[in-house]
Symmetry: C2
Subunit: 290 residues, 2 copies
């Protein structure tokens, strides 16, 4: 597989106490020739998708298919969301090399991943869409979130700003987007071919910079399935907003873990689940039929 264009592989200087990270983000929109329904040639944009194998102290852990926009944060977030490491300080460096399609993770201890049963991981890595969490639900009940007030006006303000961020989607489609928001502000926005990758990337940024989820809203274009709700709880984020729907297990977990789900959020429309703390301060004037 040819590596995608726009590769940068320089190392950023390590801020004190933080993992040293490469800077290997990809700009990967490709232009390819297609035929439309009229039989006419058309060049279209399609998104990049590259494999990235995570190695921890030389040991292969997993291969993720990714757009590669912020691979170092994706790796950190994956390690966090799979509950393989409790603190980013345990990690000395994350070096992404696209020529080898590898992310080399070096731990401070140099002992790789400890305290994880490989056979167990074999079982659970495939859970849902490739995460361990579905099978480590017990851990998550420590993450039940305290009630947080959510304002309808903030949700509408945030939704109005998404179009300033989902640039890859608008150029090429076929990606999921996730945003970390405070009130109506979008603090960071990540697109990837996988909704889990996009969420894990934001989790990595929060982990690295010790950003609390407590006062945040997490936006995703993807469905609010069980694993997405579990990751939100793990990241300490009490509100999930999606333009898409939810599943019954996602809904049950949201109730159990204290996560509010704002589903089908598009324009002024939404359906809110487990939404005791939602303040209706921006009720639309007219009934809309979207």
């Amino acid at each position: 597989m040819a590596t995608a264009p726009g590769i940068k592989n320089t190392s950023a200087p390590p801020p004190a106490g933080r993992p040293r990270l490469s800077d290997a983000g990809l700009e990967s929109i490709h232009r390819v020739a297609a035929l439309d329904q009229f039989g006419a040639s058309r060049d279209i944009n399609i998104v990049g998708e590259v494999p990235l194998t995570i190695k921890v102290d030389g040991q292969e852990l997993v291969t993720l298919m990714t757009l590669g926009a912020r691979p170092e944060m994706l790796v950190l977030g994956y390690l966090r969301n799979q509950t393989l490491f409790g603190d980013p300080a345990e990690i000395r460096s994350v070096m992404v090399n696209w020529d080898r399609e590898v992310a080399e993770v070096e731990t401070r201890e140099g002992k790789g991943i400890t305290g994880v049963d490989t056979s167990k991981r074999t079982v659970t890595t495939g859970c849902g869409q490739g995460t361990i969490l579905s099978c480590t639900l017990d851990k998550l009940y420590d993450h039940r979130l305290p009630p947080t007030e959510i304002r309808q006006s903030d949700i509408y303000e945030m939704l109005g700003k998404i179009r300033d961020h989902n640039k890859t989607y608008r150029a090429a489609g076929s990606v999921h987007g996730c945003g970390l928001c405070r009130g109506g502000e979008i603090l960071t926005f990540v697109e990837d071919v996988g909704r889990h990758n996009a969420m894990d990337t934001i989790s990595g940024e929060m982990w690295l910079d010790n950003i609390s989820g407590q006062d945040k809203i997490f936006y995703t274009t993807g469905r609010l399935t069980s694993e997405i709700v579990m990751k939100a709880a793990l990241m300490g984020i009490p509100v999930l907003v999606s333009r898409n729907g939810t599943t019954h297990m996602g809904f049950e977990l949201a109730e159990e873990l204290g996560v509010t789900l704002i589903a089908r959020a598009k324009s002024r429309h939404f359906v809110a689940l487990n939404s005791h703390n939602l303040v209706f301060d921006a009720v639309p004037k007219q009934v809309r039929f979207d």
Copy 2:
């Protein structure tokens, strides 16, 4: 997790030479209370999502999150698409028990999965969205497909019939649908919370009944990512149609494996990639702007 309603757990009599299968399909649309943007209570439909742990001769292999519509076929298709077994005759029975959220697979040899390096599987199970295939690409070049003529009129006929099949999506959303089609006919259609599950379920049906993919078209609501293209090649299906887009790796693999991609297929609109064999026998009269 409470098991979903509509559980059937009776055993079907085994046709000669075929695996014995339970009949544990779920009807899982749930009605839950929500609040809409006006603050009004609304009951909405949401789809079921249940974990199903596959055990092979007692050994845990993986846990899938599924709608559970045809779990036995999902298990068979997963085992096939992960290239863990070459022939359904190697499998004596697949018994799904929702109370235990387990699918017990019994092999004829009783030796479980042989010839698969567990540590390797640990690495690769997470590939993309939880499949091994991304990391076993070499195998797939045996699956390069011969050229097959595709008629635009068949694609339109098939697209027109989808709405007769995607019942769960229309009732509750949040599922992907996959259809196996011959010409304009939809032979079978499966919905699941995961696009891979839906595709694997159809793969299981084809495997069990020894149905060739050569003269088939595979429809999916999901994106045509690398793994979907690889599975199509493995299933011997030369044409993938999606209402969604593709990725660059999906496109590259489609060229390498001889799979035609009909992306963005909605109404009369589509963009065709690697489409040398597409016959434009139903070109729309007027330019449409969808």
